[in-house]
């Protein structure tokens, strides 16, 4: 529509057409950033206009959570945006694209001055973020968001948005730690002390995560070197 109307907008965007914004998998978003993307704008329909009833609501929830995760790992969350416009509003679309383009230009390339964590560390973080977003836990939580806020859980307890966001914040921090630890263990068995040093996480937190992973059957004791137990990854069946 914008092209037909001969409206000018930046040539530096790449549009990816999807059936519904609700289809977007946050893990692919993280992977795209890892491969060098500087900004991503998801443009969905207005709430209430969704052909699939609530696809855009779910999309907004997914993007919001991904933004939270990005903020936590040190990527400027402005690089990821959710905007709404209908397919008939060419001028609105051009305005959104132009604004977003300006903002990303201001931020510069990923891992530069615009982000808290610089390249190349940021790419390692994004890899862990992808694992978090692809993990079962966060997917379950995102999926449960709408029912928890609207109809409540099994016991009929309806959650407030405030509570849900607080829970998400905690889950993001914990899952990120867990995935970073698992990422380190992929390279070989390590002790808690080494993990804490390499990741910059306090060793008691690493220890808690390791015991939790141990109970879940994802990490097991490899050997004891001196007085330190060395932990290794347990291969998971998929």
């Amino acid at each position: 529509m914008a092209g037909v109307s001969r409206l000018q907008y930046t040539p530096e965007i790449k549009t990816v057409r999807i059936m519904c914004t609700g289809r977007i998998d946050p893990a692919t978003v993280s992977r795209a950033f890892k491969k060098g993307l500087d900004g991503l704008m998801v443009v969905g329909c207005y709430f209430g206009d969704c052909h699939y009833i609530s696809g855009n609501v779910e999309a907004k929830a997914k993007i919001d959570i991904t933004r939270k995760l990005f903020k936590h790992i040190g990527v400027n969350e402005e690089r990821l945006a959710f905007r709404q416009c209908s397919s008939g509003e060419a001028a609105v679309f051009v305005k959104l694209v132009t604004e977003f383009d300006e903002k990303i230009r201001g931020l510069g390339p990923l891992g530069g001055d615009g982000d808290r964590v610089k390249a190349p560390d940021i790419f390692g973080k994004l890899e862990s973020a992808e694992a978090v977003l692809a993990g079962e836990k966060i997917r379950w939580v995102i999926g449960k968001r709408t029912p928890f806020l609207e109809s409540g859980n099994m016991y009929g307890e309806v959650f407030t948005e405030h509570e849900f966001n607080r829970a998400i914040d905690m889950i993001i921090v914990e899952e990120m730690e867990v995935q970073e630890i698992l990422g380190q263990l992929k390279q070989g068995a390590k002790s808690v002390k080494d993990l804490a040093r390499d990741l910059g996480i306090p060793s008691e937190r690493v220890f808690r995560c390791i015991t939790a992973l141990n109970r879940k059957g994802m990490v097991a004791l490899d050997r004891v070197a001196g007085r330190s137990p060395i932990f290794q990854l347990v291969p998971q069946e998929v």
């Binding site: 079962e136 836990k137 407030t160 829970a167």
Partner: protein
Amino acid sequence: MSDKTVLIVGGGLDGVRTALDHAEAGAQVTLVEKFPTLGAERIPRDRLIGPEQGFMNPDLDKVRNHNNIRILTYSDIKKINRNNGKIRAQIKKHGLLVDNSKCNDCKACIKVCPVNMFDDFDEGLGFRTAIDYCNHTTGEYNIFKEDMPVCQETCPVHLDIRAYVGLIADGKHLESLAKIRERLPLPGSIGRICPHPCETACNRQYLDESISICFLKRFASDMELEQGIEPVYETPEQKYPEKIAIIGAGPAGLTCAHDLARMGYEHIKIFEALPVPGGYLWVGIPEYRLPKKLLQREVDLICNMGVDIQYNTRIGKDIAFEDLQKEYDAVFIGAGCHTGLKLRVPGEDDYEGIVDCVTFLREQALGTLPKAKGKLIVIGGGNAAIDSARVGWRMGFDEVYILYRRTKKEMPANSWEIDAAEHEGVILQYLAAPVEILGENGKVSGMKCIKMELGEPDASGRRRPVPIEGSEYIIDAETIVPAISQGTDLSFLDKGHNLNLSRWNTFEIDEETGATNVPGVFAGGDVVTGPDIAIRAIAAGKHAAGGIHEYLRSK
């Protein structure tokens, strides 16, 4: 076989051992354990040392298979009564929240469980998830679910604090108010005056300070006022024909009426001795703490459901209690504590100018108190004393004293109220007690006081004040207000009534239903507990409403 029965609480090593000892001796043993399994094996230690070498208590199998032992796992002791040498325990057994017949032990739930909590098994050394296997011998899974948040547990009416505070945080003020109204009919009033035990229990205080749970109620109801919304309580389609009489339009009576009306009872009549509703909320709580206009509005909301309040009707004088019992299907007594206790010092009954705090506050609220003149002494350290003093100060007494026989630390009044009184200019004298009331020409002229010091702690845990001999002094005053607790006035009962009364002249009731020993007569509030806070009276009104409903439906 002896017929001895033994209850053992705690299924740890010692509990298991003791249970076996008693069972071997022939007693019938019940073993109660709060976790889902016995003997410290709720969580296997197999991940570190392997299941074969895992710690196992050899007594466990014996206990499980013993004929004389009944094991109640995952159970809590709710109440223990001792009666004629017999001990009765009320035990609550929790159900497992997982259908273990369908579980195939794939551990997928543990991997995705979003609730990470400190493991209570190893004192928080590691994390566990809310869902967990509790026993590797039976392979049972269970979801750990807390009953209620601590604030909700503490609140006498178990208000859903988590939800309404969260809704305010989301900016949904009216939804929050609706949530409060589900359980509490007077949110604006209680939001102003409640001494909020919930905030004392709030977990947030260990981080910085408690959530202002109480004032958030006030905020929600003020938002409604500001937006000019007139709420309506919905009553169900199905109506019940029974007639219910309620004595006293205080918090307990109003709540009872509100709950019954919302259950579908149409013929509810409240008999109130005073010309105003609200009971102590109106005539005890000063205007500056709870504006009468607001209280009236909340009472009107309840009346709009068809509840009838008959003012200026004192039971026992205008209508006999017996007639109420005959005419109505159920009677709820929420008469409160409207008699001030006496000081028991010489001169108390001889002079004019001694007004107990209940009368003082009531006459002030109703505007029948004579003009303030001279000095005022309030005796006591509770909230009623502070209220009387602050009211007196506003009425224009020249000087207002509060006499308390212990120190500020021991004062039962809320600390913020004491600070406010001090700030306003009320003179607080600690460690002082009245000895004698002095008077001239039939009127009070002053009071002889004595200084005290703190001695050994007494039954209440507070240090007992002991008079210092020879330290008497005199304060001049024209009015003296003793505010040393209140008692019930049960003169409305007929002489030949057969209701069970306690030695404090309060009713003895069943706590769950509010029922007295006479069928169809229920009681609650201060008339049962003695002077207490409004929210507990409201809780009693709720219990009684449930009890009345149960009683009438089972007739």
